[in-house]
Subunit: 409 residues, 2 copies
């Protein structure tokens, strides 16, 4: 019911998901004019959002040039620069004058190429030679050559650069756009800041949801269907639960000790949760630093050294608090019996061991996952906690056997 | 040792933190030319990065017009649109012709105003009337008036709009920039996509670090000093540890039950960790949905209903797995004694209760924190786990008393 221009604007303003749903329900025959409205990077996003079985039919609607570009874009990993770049950008030749360049840019703008502060200067082989801002072009004498005013110290990324790293570079350098070049220096496209905002936000959401011990929901909380949500959450909870069942087995090994000294059981939750907390803390910090490219795989040794030391200090801190807690309670109410001092030392010593192990395991697990090609964010807080719980029990009861053997045990 | 232009470019390419460190070490006297290079929003960021006691001296270096703009920017909350917007943008009057408009925009570009695809059309009272893209200007007949080709269906934000919400809108609408207007419709500035990328990334980092049970580090992992890091992590770990000490007290209340039926102790870690896992999962999903403005405070009732139902299903799932686990182990090795069926029902029933409580508590805690003006992300996975651990023990032993009273207990 809208006129053609309004309808086009409405369509372009829709989210990729809504566009895909609309076209999918219209069917390929009636979608041609809509598909042709889209820039190649948007068309690629839309095609990716369509059901796999109809993608080919929608690709066929594009004009051959755009189809080639979309096919190229779809070949890139979704989270690499190549997957979000726009292959159309303002381009100039180095040997033209400023006056010609401005006329030429104006024509490119009319053809629908996004205006974003810079134009890229390409050689005849499409190699990227330099960049020039509109401001510099407008301010320069009209008869100067582009190559005389262009900058040649370029910030570029490759098609494989991870999108989070591209976002990081954009922020660091304060740029609106970064050119994407291949190994031979040929310009492939431009990633603009608006391309990466959504990606950065989405990837952070996925990481956060994984760290919280769930699969990524992929949909807003209030919009995802109940059964989808339960499935995505239940799967991880069940896996964690099955892992956690090992604690019952581990506790079984120490059943005799618990029967002889029930006081030991009282501190089980405190000790295993301290390991879990220090582990999830370390894992989360490392996962985020990896996502921001602050830490690379080869840094594992630096991180390990740092975390052992951190774990030592944190373990001493918690051990000391635990020691004081038991001594104070004992002084007030004689709750821990004649061997309270040995019990206190057992708890404090175990805390030191458990926190050190938790910190180290939590910080190394993301490295292990990444090394084997898995997502480091899967080293979620609950996952690390589960891992550390079993070990924590073993550490605790081993220390107890050592310190309390012959007295309480 | 660089010539003036190179030096200026080098300075502008530095991160805000490096710029601030440089100028702080140069001192206000030698900083004047550098300060004057900066756009108002960048100058405001730099001033914010300087030590509080020297900020005034650096503000005094700015020309009066810029100083006014910087002061206005500094008055906004750092995480609101007003805090990142650029008060300088391409502006046009509605009654000029396209030809005049293009000449005028070119002059503005030369004066250093960022070129970002759109120009904003303002009335004499600075009210925002419309927006026009460069493409439309270049393609329009030169004698047409700007008001004839401008769009009047505007997407705007206010100065108070949260930056995450601005980022969300930019992505949704596929825009490079969004105008900021006040309640009366007066244009205050423009937020561009590159302004929010960094913010989005930073806020996600802070949230992730808090969810992992640490204070926000505010510095890259490998760069933060050891003692700073230990302090930021140790503080939260100590708080959680002190909270977790309640588990020892709670266990103390059930010491007699444990002494009589040691088998009960075996499942303590499994049960409390299941509550912790389901709680951190729910808390994390709600925290992220809040950060993305998918959920507002008034949605608490919808979320509560949803989570009770989710908790019920997840609790039944884990309870069932637990039941099967005990029955299978019993069939293989007779490990749980004559009353194994009652033990199995105790564990399964407790799991249902603990998971339901964990899910509800985890999902509501962020609402409570936000309601009282605290950061919902402080409802970290370890915080929720600690909260749920104590309750989990009470639920478990209460169910045990009900089901095992007269037999095992």
């Amino acid at each position: 019911m809208l006129d053609a221009i309004e309808a086009a604007e409405f369509f372009l303003a829709l989210s990729t998901r809504d566009q895909a749903d609309l076209l999918d329900s219209l069917g390929p025959e009636r979608s041609r004019p809509w598909m042709r409205l889209l820039a190649p990077d948007d068309a690629a996003d839309l095609v990716q959002a369509l059901p796999a079985e109809v993608r080919g039919r929608f690709m066929a609607l594009l004009d051959p040039a755009t189809r080639g570009e979309v096919t190229a874009l779809l070949a890139y990993a979704e989270d690499a620069a190549g997957g979000v770049m726009n292959p159309r950008y303002m381009r100039l030749r180095p040997e033209i004058t400023v006056e010609v360049a401005i006329r030429y840019l104006r024509r490119q703008a009319i053809r629908g190429i996004e205006v974003i502060d810079y134009a890229y200067v390409l050689g005849p082989d499409l190699r990227l030679l330099g960049v020039v801002s509109f401001r510099e072009l407008f301010a320069a004498p009209p008869e100067k050559l582009v190559q005389e005013i262009m900058h040649t110290d370029l910030v570029t990324v490759t098609e494989e650069t991870d999108q989070e790293a591209v976002a990081h570079l954009l922020v660091e350098e304060g740029l609106l756009a970064i050119p994407v070049v291949d190994a031979s220096g040929t310009m492939k496209g431009v990633v603009t800041a608006d391309d990466v905002v959504g990606v950065v936000q989405e990837e952070a959401t996925e990481d956060i949801q994984k760290i919280g011990g769930s699969e990524a929901l992929d949909e807003p909380y209030l919009q995802i269907g109940f059964s989808d949500m339960v499935r995505k959450r239940g799967r991880w909870l069940a896996v964690l639960f099955i892992g956690e069942m090992l604690t019952a087995t581990a506790m079984g090994f120490f059943e005799k000790e618990i029967a002889r000294a029930v006081v030991l059981a009282l501190f089980v939750p405190l000790i295993i949760s301290s390991g879990g907390n220090s582990g999830s803390q370390a894992a989360t910090l490392v996962i985020r630093a990896m996502a921001l490219s602050e830490i690379r795989l080869r840094d594992w040794w630096r991180v390990a050294r740092r975390e052992v030391l951190t774990g030592l200090v944190l373990g001493l801190l918690l051990g000391l608090i635990g020691l004081i807690r038991i001594l104070v309670w004992q002084a007030i109410g004689d709750v821990y019996g004649a061997h309270y001092l040995l019990v206190a030392l057992t708890v404090a010593g175990s805390l030191l061991g458990v926190v050190m192990f938790g910190t180290l395991a939590g910080s190394m697990l993301p490295f292990v996952l990444r090394r084997f090609g898995a997502d480091p964010a899967s080293a979620s807080a609950p996952f690390v906690a589960t891992l550390v719980d079993v070990t924590g029990l073993v550490i605790y009861f081993t220390v107890a056997r050592l310190l309390l053997g012959g007295t309480l045990l």
